[in-house]
Symmetry: C2
């Protein structure tokens, strides 16, 4: 027996206590404002005047009342103009708002305006919008102002989302497992739906609405056709009814072969009239139950999923057929560009572009091509996907992964804001400097209106929703960036930290600093200098740079690292796979040019000798080793920082984070040691001075097996 880390937690929990903080409340904790500041807020938020009684206005009012009750005290009900401190909630068409002549037009469908103004000479705050949902978004913003201790006495702010569809993609199976899920079961309890809707569904909707998320794909892109049968439509409808007041539409992943599996047809050929009739009838059936159904998400002809190519047809044939089925109802089809062929032995990084680029302009207006941020698969770092900017006559959506399949599951503290921001700020140069990915995604660059930002959700049945306290920040930053892809992710982290923990700057500054560097640290200890796809096989847990063999080369690690006595890295320049030519010329030329390419992408694009000189003057081998070690050191630092923040954090959440940081520390060391042990068999070079050798033998690391790793989603 040894002393174990939970001893502290145990003693804590044995003591009498009110129900402890456990993360369930997310960033919507609404804890009391400190006494010195409370009065000023309370004076401005003394009463609520909702201008109407629609379902969305009801939840907007209820949320405001709930938030104010917690923060500054229960508000009264009073009409605007009858006293100071009334908050008037209303849409443009509500008479109480209309008569104020507010500049709402430019706010669009979902934006809001919050303004302090006198009504009958009484100090009033109006939260107004063109639609009720904008008012709800404004309410969450107003509460955020108080939660983050901003002044509210004289407000004049307006905000409108830059992206139309701000969506979560749940890779949740109908048996409640979650593919690449590290936070328990699916929150969708299909078995008890529709007869019982877990109250948690309301909190799920609240949390998403607080970020402006307005869509949820309920089931895994590796879909079962069952999700399109009547019993499951009924279940989805129960969720849609619950989410509707919060402005969240439901979508379903559609299995392309459903006409065969549940339609009794012999084919799913998208040009077959019976198949087209099946999908039209299916769409009609769904819209009868869910009048505001969002549409279908489709993974077709990718990783074994069925698709139009099975019948000699194209992505355009498949997507447009579905688009025609849902179009009359106002639905959309989101067609994933994550494809790579079994037959073509081409560089996997090139295949999405190769398959889709030529179709630009051929997809129906209500089709969106959903493109992952990078061309491989949600790696710790990837250059932006070459399809961004390459299809100006198509709707191009972004797919980020919030769940950390390749970034340490739930137990590594890795704030994804910088990863998302790096991609969004990347400049495609397709229309000259400033043609950022963000401007492709929000439609500015090409004047597209049907825009999408999707995140693969990290939400599950765990009490803390996301598997860890800090993974909540990844859900949060995704939502904030979907609203504004050009937002600053440090500022977002600060808002999150304040609302989730405390406004005390002694906490916020070090915690946010720690978060901001955490992703680079993960890159360092996992796959520095442009390395990628070096994880364990299947479950993707831990290091597996030796993974080789199996059904296809591009599922192995050695395919991507191409380590050998001569060096390491994947040559994607014109002398290699020429993937660089898929980018706009100045970008591709830079990637291909050792004098121009950023070292962070070095081995993504170049195969280089072990003694290649880095900017630091180190050889490539020495530099690699130092990167690995730097990553481990950073996690050491996070452990120290977090320990020092104990005075500012409730004990249960502090203990959980501390436990996970220790796991991360051990696994960062493991990644470093296993990677060095493996690559040293090729470099044949000693470690740089001062670098410790791996703790165990290469054989030890290669022998580790994890039969019960989570996230396989069986």
């Amino acid at each position: 027996m040894r002393l174990r880390a939970f001893a502290a937690a145990l003693l804590l929990l044995a003591a009498p206590a009110a129900r402890a903080e456990d993360g369930y409340d997310l960033w919507l904790r609404y804890k009391p404002v400190e006494a010195s500041a409370k009065g000023a807020y309370a004076a401005r938020a003394a009463a609520i005047a909702p201008a109407s009684d629609t379902p969305t206005m009801k939840v907007a009012r209820a949320e405001l009342e709930r938030g104010l009750t917690g923060l500054v005290g229960k508000p009264a009900s009073a009409a605007a103009g009858t006293r100071d401190g009334v908050i008037l909630l209303g849409a443009a068409s509500d008479p109480a708002v209309a008569k104020l002549n507010l500049p709402l037009k430019s706010l669009g469908e979902d934006g809001y305006l919050i303004r302090t103004l006198p009504v009958n000479g009484k100090a009033t705050t109006v939260i107004a919008a063109n639609r009720d949902i904008g008012v709800l978004y404004g309410v969450f913003r107003y509460l955020e102002l108080i939660q983050t201790r901003q002044p509210v006495a004289s407000l004049d702010l307006a905000s409108a989302p830059k992206v139309k569809l701000r969506m979560l993609n749940h890779w949740d199976n109908l048996n409640r497992t979650v593919e690449r899920g590290y936070s328990g079961q699916s929150i969708f309890d299909w078995w008890k739906l529709p007869d019982h809707v877990d109250p948690r569904m309301v909190d799920y909707a609240r949390a998403n609405a607080s970020l402006g998320i307005n869509g949820a794909v309920l089931n895994n892109v590796n879909a079962k056709a069952d999700s399109l049968t009547a019993p499951f439509i009924d279940k989805a409808a129960a969720l849609a009814d619950t989410f509707r007041p919060y402005g969240i539409k439901v979508y379903l992943s559609a299995r392309f072969s459903a006409p065969i599996e549940i339609g009794g047809l012999k084919t799913a050929d998208p040009l077959d009239p019976a198949v087209r009739a099946f999908w039209k009838a299916k769409a009609d059936e769904i819209y009868k139950e869910i009048p505001d159904f969002g549409g279908f998400l489709v993974k077709a002809n990718s990783e074994g999923q069925p698709g139009p190519q099975d019948y000699g047809r194209t992505h355009v044939d498949g997507a447009n057929m579905l688009a025609q089925a849902v179009g009359p109802h106002g639905g959309v089809v989101i067609w994933r560009a994550f494809v790579y062929s079994h037959e073509q032995p081409d560089d996997r990084a090139k295949q999405g572009y190769t398959e889709f680029k030529a179709f630009d302009g051929q997809f129906a207006d209500n089709v969106v091509i959903q493109v992952k941020n990078g061309a491989i698969d949600f790696q710790p770092r990837e250059p932006f996907h070459p399809l961004f900017g390459a299809m100006p006559k198509s709707n191009i959506g972004m797919e980020f992964q919030i769940t950390k399949e390749y970034l340490g599951f739930a137990t590594h503290l890795v704030y994804l804001g910088p990863l998302f921001e790096e991609t969004l700020k990347a400049d495609t140069m397709v229309k000259g400097k400033g043609s950022t990915v963000a401007k492709v995604v929000d439609g500015q660059l090409d004047g597209r209106k049907l825009t999408v930002m999707a995140g693969v959700a990290n939400i599950g049945s765990d009490r803390n929703w996301s598997g860890s306290q800090f993974d909540q920040a990844n859900w949060y930053v995704f939502g904030r960036l979907a609203w504004d892809p050009e937002a600053d992710t440090r500022a977002i982290a600060r808002d999150w930290a304040k609302m989730t923990f405390t406004n005390d700057e002694r906490f916020v500054k070090p915690a946010v600093d720690m978060m901001m560097g955490s992703r680079e640290a993960a890159v360092d200890y996992m796959t520095p200098l442009g390395l990628h796809h070096q994880m364990g096989e299947g479950h993707h847990y831990g290091p597996g740079p030796w993974v080789s063999g199996g059904p296809r080369a591009d599922w192995t690690s050695v395919y991507y690292a191409k380590a050998g006595p001569d060096g390491i890295g994947f040559d994607r320049t014109p002398t290699g796979s020429d993937a660089t030519s898929q980018y706009a010329p100045p970008v591709g030329a830079c990637f291909a040019d050792l004098k121009c390419v950023d070292e962070k992408d070095l081995l993504w694009f170049h195969h280089l000798p072990w003694d290649y000189r880095l900017n630091s003057g180190d050889t490539l081998w020495d530099g690699m080793v130092k990167h690995y070690s730097r990553g481990v050191s950073y996690v050491d630092g996070m452990n120290r920082t977090w320990a020092s923040l104990a005075p500012y954090v409730d004990a249960p959440r502090h203990a959980e984070v501390a436990d996970f940081l220790k796991i991360q520390r051990n696994e960062a060391q493991w990644w470093r040691d296993a990677s060095i042990a493996w690559f040293q068999t090729f470099s044949k070079r000693p470690l740089p001075a001062g670098e410790k050798p791996p703790e165990k033998s290469l054989e030890y690391y290669q022998g580790l097996k994890f039969r019960f790793a989570p996230g396989n989603g069986l």
Copy 2:
């Protein structure tokens, strides 16, 4: 779109609210006593004086403080005799207790005494025991007295458990699925253990300790050998460390073939010296990590699991080998008698007895044979298992199933108290009248000391632990019966209802009445008059009386009902399988005699013509139909009763129960209708007057498929 049941819940939850009741607190809610009664309790519970500072005494003191703080106000710390109203906690060896000369001897290892007495003339309550764990049990009992509003001013009560090992069997897999689990994932998060121990593990231990449960088998009886590898022993040790202060030992299910799978051996033959050495070394390894490890639970040569018979050896050979490995450490081997052979075409109900009876007296002293309550498999009703009373020279333990595999999963309100009580009060007659199963299980009948009552847990990651609020009562009643197998399950239900909901008799009486009849209702709408094993195939959800074919007859429904034009029922009399002869003569003779056998067991033992006359005067067919309908009517009544209890129950829990009762109503109707539709094809008789025909065709019911039913535990 239709109006949906959750509308009420939705509105409720959108409203501002303190954290709602959700069932997490179980029967340990410790809500404030009403003002009129609080003073009297507070006076008696004003201060706590723990006599020592051991880990168990610490949690006993903390629990008492937590409970009193919630119920009557935070207690002070004060030594006994310094003021009135001190509660003195201590073990026999603590000086403060020793000097009181209390009659503790007869309390045994786990019993407790609670007595009011003067110390230095000050009114004092002493909670004393021979060991610290008894004090903790006494603390929970004392809190229960207040929770159920019993007087505490003049106490003199003592209680000691009649069964030594009071255990939960978790059928939890290492990937966190749960076989036959309907309450979410396994609460054991193997992936994060041992580095992180979920604080919920402490609440799990508290809840079990409050019932006197003192053992937990952590993994499924369909076991993976991995659970015996070093990493998993380390994980189990972390749980053991957490549970230890609460008196709960951990056990592991052991896969009999582990010597091959993880030991590098070619055989698992229990007489092979290398195999014996493997198990001895494995036991030593476990005990090094977990010095108070409880022992192994083994499912061998049953339903495809490996066992000694694979090597031509016997259950005795297998069990005693393991017993020898754990014996020196004080461990036990619990060997399940749930076996039925692939080869023998004998009545499955007979095979456990047939295989084990002859071994009586041959098992080692630290082996317990764990016998299911009935001879088939946890059916809604089974006659008691013939092995009870048949092996007086062996330790015979009871295995109940708390999770409702055959009783409606989590959404049917079925209180299992009457099922457990019916079995325990059944008279084996082996030593004359009064030789009840309870007296076999608690060792009285045969003077056994190593006694076991095990329950297959219904605990999972769901917030409410058990999948539904009322399924908590099944965990509760199991624990109370394990402490005292002769306890009254109505009284237990009353205690549970009071602590879980309210002491208001306007709630307690109707709620408990409803609970007490609920199991008979399930028997009626599922399998009346002794029918059994009529459920859906594989998942065991819903009716499947037509199930036939497949790999073995005794996994079908038709094998058990034996319905035909001539009648229905399984002849287990001497003219049939002669299973009745496995019981003591007066009991078996009664079962075999139509004039003696209770009608509740009629078709379990007899094959009878459709026009057989029941006691009611009805034909068998008419009586069957009326039983089915009576079950449905009872559920109708529960719906009405529950609706009327809304004033006494918090809205969230009331809504959840109401939703589930509606599901139960629909499924009860489905069971009735599908069963009648099927059996009518044999009876060829009309329904009795006033009975409605099935709502749908037999083909409809037969066509229903449930691919994603929970509990398969993949």
